[in-house]
């Protein structure tokens, strides 16, 4: 079976079958939807900055941005990358990050009730599938590192 991602020089070739591509795109949009709605599954996208509760409270008072809005935008734009036959290494790095965001949210969705009509079983299946894709993409990306 052909790997979903493979390295060719400074590019990564995407060899996803059409259904795999569709599922991946839908997953990214679904996770963007959950995060945009402030769903409890999205808490891992915005972890605390400090291990000291006092410093963390100070940060909260300052009202620092959580960054979730930026992630939602990136997920919505990122699904378009899957239509490309090849990606640059920078784009591939971004795709790996987005797939990881999806896994972070889907891991929570396996044990909680979603606002996006996502059943725990379906979340688990997506989580495992995206783990497979991410592993393949990391192998392609890491082949250029020592």
């Amino acid at each position: 079976m052909k790997e979903p991602f493979s390295r060719e020089g400074d590019t990564v070739v995407i060899s996803l079958a059409e259904p795999q591509r569709d599922v991946t795109k839908q997953s990214m949009l679904l996770v963007a939807q959950i995060a945009a709605a402030g769903g409890q599954e999205a808490w891992r996208l915005s972890p605390p900055m400090y291990d000291d509760p006092l410093l963390e409270a100070e940060e909260a008072v300052k009202g620092g941005e959580s960054g979730v809005g930026d992630i939602v935008t990136r997920l919505r734009m990122g699904e378009g990358m899957l239509d490309e036959p090849t990606l640059s290494l920078r784009e591939s790095d971004e795709l790996a990050t987005l797939l990881n965001y999806c896994r972070l949210v889907l891991s929570e969705a396996q044990t909680s009730i979603s606002e996006a009509n996502l059943t725990p079983k379906f979340a688990e299946d997506l989580y495992n599938f995206l783990g497979y894709l991410l592993s393949s993409l990391l192998e392609a990306l890491s082949s250029g590192l020592d």
Binding site: S46, M49, D52, N100, S142, D146
Partner: protein
């Protein structure tokens, strides 16, 4: 210091890749730190001025890793 915490979601190869990419660690060093996180629950991946540590943590968060700024 910059503390990287273990979590059950991030794949080990992903953590190694991020440490190599962000900190320019060798594969050996990135792997050692990742396995320390996996084994001990956390590892110190950098030490220095608070502002630098905050930047490190923000970068690790951008990759979806769980990191915090800790007291030296």
């Amino acid at each position: 210091m910059t503390i990287l915490w273990d979590d059950p979601v991030n794949l080990i190869p992903y953590v190694i890749y991020v440490l190599q990419t962000l900190f320019a660690f060798s594969k050996v060093k990135a792997t050692e730190l990742t396995m320390q996180v996996h084994r001990d629950g956390k590892a110190i991946v950098a030490a220095g001025a608070r502002e630098d540590m905050e930047n490190n943590v923000a970068s690790l968060h951008r990759y979806g890793l769980w990191a915090t700024v800790g007291r030296a």
